[in-house]
Subunit: 111 residues, 2 copies
DNA sequence: CATAGTTATTCGGATAATCGGATAACTAGG
DNA sequence: CCTAGTTATCCGATTATCCGAATAACTATG
């Protein structure tokens, strides 16, 4: 098999997208922003984390083009740039749900 | 909004699934295994990485229940346990493809 | 232009992830 | 049982990531 081309592509996929999903707060940010666009301060309130932390995570999501940042007066409004990211995460969420269900099933059978 | 429940879920999602996708070699492993089940040695040849590295990554994918391991004689055959992981990755790949296309588009317009 | 509000960046320290060689554990075959 | 082949784990070292306080940069308003 042509592992060469596939390897290049997966490396790129990781660098440009997956690495951004490698932190729980960034995943949460994406879901919160999926509800509606918000400014940084709102996100600070939502996630109850220091502003520098939020801003840094937003910078990473911005680098990967997963969110848009639009200045409105003093605020910068962040929004999801591609809803397919949520679609993708939702699939993983469904996998997790089934895994958990399977585990409790096994637990119930052994009792 | 109920950030509490969402936060718990995203934390779990990260711990149990997304963290496994946080390494380019593991992503590649998933795609290679998606073609067909393979034993560790085959994967070592495919990825051209030391056996200990491959085995460690496989252990992580196993922990997260993203791959199955089945002993067959001297070999351990690994396979994808849930094709939806690939489905999810393919969506991210599509996003990446569009991003790249958009970038080259911009590049062409400025020339 | 001084000030207050908002956001971005810098910084050092702490934690976690990854690597590959070495070794151990396991399995089949002679 | 001894050996060869396969896979898993251990280990130290390197590298990467994350954190939050402090600070800088930017924006509107008086």
């Amino acid at each position: 098999m042509d592992t060469k081309g596939l390897e290049n592509e997966t490396t790129l996929l990781h660098e440009r997208i997956c690495s951004a999903l490698g932190d729980p707060k960034r995943i949460l940010l994406l879901y919160v922003l999926n509800e509606k666009p918000r400014c940084v301060n709102d996100l600070v309130d939502c996630l109850k984390s220091p502003q520098s932390t939020i801003s840094r995570h937003l910078a990473i999501l911005r680098e990967k083009n997963l969110v848009n940042a639009e200045r409105q007066g003093m605020n910068v409004i962040y929004s999801i740039s591609d809803p397919r990211v949520i679609e993708s995460l939702d699939i993983l969420r469904a996998i997790l749900r089934d895994q958990l269900q399977e585990q409790t099933q096994i637990l119930n059978n052994t009792l």
